[in-house]
């Protein structure tokens, strides 16, 4: 295990940034946000960022192709570019887990080359949580905030930051920084992990009921009368889906720039009334169906297709951000609680 004194962390960040693009959470007046590193930026110690880390691999807006139209003729221009290498420094365990959730969608055949390109060029340095929030419930999905995955796992303990490489990419990163790092044992880390786990144990939502959400109960959950009550206050905005690290629905749209057509994809939300709107039909015609779709997808559909892996990582962003404070925790309690 490698480590660096927190007071030397700026030098480490500088060194990474000198090598490749570096993104890290920094504190802003509206909370922590990921941003491209600039000299002097310091790592936010906030539990989590407003926006999730999915933006790095699945940005909100992304050009897919361009078209030149002249008369009846069309020319397709491939606008894809090889992404530069980059490091995400300080992602939390939940966000790191979300990458796995996204991978199973975007890297499934046929692979999404836009996503894959970014994923391949990234190195994720995951930082263990030390001060989780009341909205955190990653443990409900079996995620250990004290033991984040990623290419490198990192911990803060006793005034130092500790690093453990998990992958080849992680090894490469750390070895490039070896001049700044010291070899240390993991004793302090183990203590920090324990502390984190103790706090996790006190969180009000740490044990949300998950055992009921089995594929075989799909129709039972689908037809649960509770959806009506749960969904009735939903205003149909896309906040939960846009702050969610695992929501990956998208829309493909064309934009006429005046000099050609740009085809881009952008985040879409299953909560939007026009999400499934067709020319003459709308299969999910009220907010109930749309609301149900989102939570069924996270809790039942996605696990059914992915060996039981839930589509939620318990980051708690939707709990903090939903305009009406309706969220997956309340849904899980209502649906999966003792009936």
């Amino acid at each position: 295990m490698k480590s660096i004194s927190l007071s030397n962390l700026p030098e480490l960040l500088s060194a990474i940034a000198a090598k490749e693009a570096l993104y890290l959470p920094v504190d802003t007046k509206e909370g922590a946000e990921y941003k491209a590193y600039a000299e002097g930026d310091s790592l936010s110690l906030a539990c989590n960022t407003n926006r999730s880390a999915k933006d790095f691999f699945f940005p909100q807006v992304e050009d897919m192709a361009a078209f030149k139209v002249e008369g009846k003729k069309i020319e397709i221009i491939d606008v894809r570019k090889e992404t530069e290498d980059f490091v995400i420094f300080g992602a939390r365990a939940c966000d790191v887990k979300s990458f796995e959730v996204l991978d199973r969608v975007f890297l499934a055949d046929p692979v999404d080359t836009f996503y894959k390109n970014r994923r391949e060029h990234s190195t994720v340095v995951a930082l263990a949580c030390s001060a989780p929030e009341e909205t955190c419930f990653c443990s409900s999905f079996g995620i250990d905030a004290a033991e984040p995955q990623g290419d490198v796992s990192a911990w803060i303990a006793e005034g130092r930051m500790f690093f453990k490489p998990n992958t080849q990419k992680g090894e490469t990163l750390l070895s490039a920084l070896s001049a700044l790092l010291e070899e240390s044992d993991g004793a302090a880390v183990e203590k920090a992990k324990e502390e984190t786990r103790t706090i996790m144990g006190q969180l009000p939502l740490q044990n949300l009921p998950t055992e009921h959400f089995k594929p075989e109960k799909l129709m039972e959950h689908f037809n649960d009368p509770k959806w009506k009550e749960l969904s009735q206050a939903c205003i149909g905005c896309g906040t939960c889906t846009f702050v969610c690290p695992t929501c990956q629905c998208f829309d493909i749209r064309d934009f006429d720039t005046g000099n050609g057509i740009q085809r881009y994809r952008c985040w879409d939300s299953c909560m939007y009334s026009d999400f499934t709107q067709m020319a003459a039909d709308q299969p999910r015609h009220t907010q109930l169906e749309r609301f149900r779709q989102r939570f069924m997808h996270k809790l039942v559909y996605y696990p059914a297709n992915n060996e039981g892996l839930f589509g939620c990582v318990g980051c708690g962003r939707c709990l903090a951000k939903c305009p009406i404070s309706m969220n997956i925790a309340k849904v899980m309690k209502a649906l999966g609680g003792d009936k």
């Binding site: 139209v69 008369g71 006429d256 005046g258 009334s273 709308q282 015609h285």
Partner: protein
């Protein structure tokens, strides 16, 4: 995808000299949807139009873009041509590359480039054009004439003569207007009353004409062919039907001190009165401002003497609701208020009078019985000074008008001539800036005044008139002699500028008819549609449109009647095709659009809809009456949901033009 043809006009060298028309045609030929392009010397010519028609047929065009002069010139020409070739006329768009391109630019490169962009914008618009059909609305075969002066009388008579019903609304107790106050008319010097009063009688006797005297238009709703007008019949406290016009009451009324407006306050009348002997309708009216009975409840003389029992002190204003197909505005003029013209001492001396007052003084039915006497002391004036252009042709900023009142030169010549003829011992001076006498026999008339009657015409302006010892000291300059003149006049007559009647502005608002800054009604076209207002169904007769003399007024009145008859002769009217329309599924029913519609064209209804969520819902939605909508588009911007849009100028069409221009 439209199949668009592009036709670039050279307009001789008007366009071709500054814009490379061939390059424009070729560049536009590459635009999406353009399947045909050509350029030609004169697209608006028979041959040019044939080229368009042929191309539409041969290339199965669905739309056409004409790069030519302003659409205000030939849009209709090209639309008709397109329609003749079988496509909807609204599938044609004009790119204005003459007035807004070739004529304002000198550099051929940039002008050509701009012409291409303008063409592109038109093409972009045509892509989104849809065939439009104008709706139809029925026509109420009755006209309303507002104002009962000679203009209104002539228009009403002509319309009635064609067999249509006409109502005249006159705010005064009698029709007749200004002409009834005039003594003689130039240049023939026949007596105004002699030619006017028979016409007034004709009006009274015409079965097709109703006169609402002592009435005003209170509210106007509706639109061309279907106006709904509310007329306020002011209480005259005399039953019009019962009153025989015997005039006994007007002799017996004890209240004698009422300024007589017919004689411009130069004498007095009673509180109950008939304005003048030949009044139509010949019915008495009680002046509520002066009647002792109405003010104090004590008197009742008129009621006692009226054998017909026509007096009704309890009479109230009543309202008549009537429908009309057309409305004629004939609200006439007034001389301007001269109080502000201190330099002419109008307020200081009763012997400084206006020309209209002069008319009354010389009129046999006037306050002096037709003898020219000074209002102050009743003596014969020996020296009279006429001042022209009082309040006319002034620079902006003064209290007068910038325009020429047009009639003053002639009536002043008339006054001067008549004075000299009747009272040869009187010296007459006329001060003028210019003497304007274009008109049949006008200049001869003026020359007679100077040459035969010895009127002193002095080019120059009067600087000051000051009353001194019963005389009026007139200080003036003679611009030709280059000297200062001092005249001790007995009487000074001011040719006051004329202005539209005060009632015109509120009326214009009711009619949604536009006015110029001087409150004259604007014509639909200053040259080609001089008797119509831009607001459909509103016609203009007489001085409400601009200063005119009697023959001109009568000519315009008849022209106006012809236009009205043309309208009333139709059973149905074709409406504006470029009207607003509301998408019911998008409409929120918020009523915002309704509030900004100047025509009341938008109404709301509750309708049942099948909603996207598969429920049925009763919703309040807007609907536009296409017969009423004039297509301004105010509602389209007021509408937050985008439900309201305008045919022919839709959001998408305009944005497509924006896109094409900014590209």
């Amino acid at each position: 995808m439209q199949r668009i043809g592009v036709f670039v006009c050279w307009c001789g060298s008007n366009i071709a000299a500054t814009v490379d028309v061939k390059a424009v045609a070729e560049a536009l030929g590459k635009e999406p949807g353009v399947v045909y392009f050509e350029d030609y010397q004169y697209m608006c010519s028979e041959e040019g139009q044939n080229k368009i028609k042929n191309a539409i047929r041969d290339y199965k065009l669905t739309g056409a873009v004409i790069c030519s002069c302003s659409p205000r010139m030939h849009e209709n020409t090209f639309r008709k041509a397109a329609a003749a070739a079988g496509i909807n006329s609204f599938m044609v768009e004009i790119a204005n590359i003459r007035e807004q391109c070739s004529w304002i630019h000198k550099d051929k490169v940039s002008a050509t480039e701009k012409a291409i962009i303008l063409g592109r914008a038109a093409i972009a618009k045509v892509h989104l054009n849809a065939p439009l059909t104008a709706g139809e609305s029925p026509v109420v075969k009755r006209a309303l004439v507002i104002g009962g002066g000679i203009a209104g009388i002539q228009t009403a008579l002509d319309i009635a003569d064609a067999g249509f019903e006409v109502d005249i609304v006159e705010k005064k107790p009698t029709i007749g207007g200004k002409m009834s106050q005039i003594d003689k008319t130039f240049p023939t010097l026949d007596c105004a009353a002699c030619i006017l009063t028979p016409k007034m009688v004709d009006v009274a006797q015409n079965e097709k004409i109703r006169i609402f005297s002592y009435s005003e238009v209170d509210a106007v709703k509706g639109f061309v062919g279907n106006f709904k007008v509310s007329i306020r019949r002011k209480a005259r406290f005399v039953d019009e039907v019962k009153c025989t016009g015997c005039g006994l009451c007007t002799e017996k009324c004890p209240q004698k001190k009422v300024p007589n407006e017919f004689n411009l306050g130069l004498d007095q009348r009673r509180a109950i009165y008939i304005p003048f002997a030949q009044a139509v309708p010949k019915v008495a009216t009680i002046d509520a401002d002066y009647c002792t009975m109405l003010k104090t409840g004590k008197c009742g003389v008129c009621s006692k003497v009226c054998a017909a029992g026509a007096i009704d002190y309890k009479q109230k204003d009543t309202f008549v609701e009537e429908e009309y197909g057309a409305i004629v505005v004939a609200t006439g003029f007034n001389p301007i208020e001269l109080k502000k013209y201190d330099e002419f001492a109008y307020s200081q001396s009763p012997d400084v009078i206006t020309s209209l007052e002069f008319e009354r003084i010389t009129n046999a039915a006037g306050p002096t019985g037709g003898t020219l006497l000074r209002p102050s002391d009743g003596t014969h004036p020996k020296k009279i000074v006429f001042v022209q252009c009082v309040g006319s042709r002034e620079d902006g900023g003064g209290c007068g008008k910038t325009y020429c009142s047009k009639i003053c030169c002639m009536y002043t010549a008339k006054h001067a001539m008549l004075t000299r003829e009747k009272y040869p011992d009187t010296e007459v001076y006329v001060f003028y800036i210019d003497v304007r006498t274009p008109g049949k026999s006008f200049d001869e008339f003026y020359r007679r005044a100077v040459e035969e009657y010895g009127v002193h015409y002095v080019k120059g302006m009067v600087g000051k008139v000051s009353p001194e010892n019963g005389k009026l000291m007139v200080r003036a300059s003679d611009l030709i002699e280059g000297k200062q003149l001092n005249i001790d006049a007995d009487l000074v007559v001011l040719a006051a500028a004329i202005e539209p009647d005060q009632s015109a502005r509120p009326l214009a608002t009711m009619l949604t008819a536009s006015m110029d800054t001087n409150d004259f009604f604007t014509e639909a076209h200053p040259k080609l549609r001089p008797v119509e207002s831009p607001t459909a169904g509103i016609f203009l007769s007489g001085c409400c449109q601009g200063p005119k003399d009697i023959p001109e007024t009568v000519a315009q009145a008849s022209a106006c009647a012809a236009k009205v008859i043309g309208l009333l002769a139709k059973d149905k009217l074709t409406c504006n095709a470029c009207v607003a329309h509301s998408s019911e599924m998008l409409c929120n029913g918020c009523s915002t659009c309704e509030k900004v519609c100047p025509y009341g064209a938008i109404s709301y209804e509750e309708k049942e809809f099948r909603m996207p969520d598969r429920t049925t819902r009763v919703r309040r939605v807007a609907s536009v009456n296409p017969a009423v909508c004039q297509g301004c588009g105010a509602c389209t911007v007021a509408c937050p949901s985008g439900a309201m849009d305008l045919h022919g100028f839709s959001n998408r069409q305009i944005m497509a033009e924006v896109d094409a221009i900014c590209k």
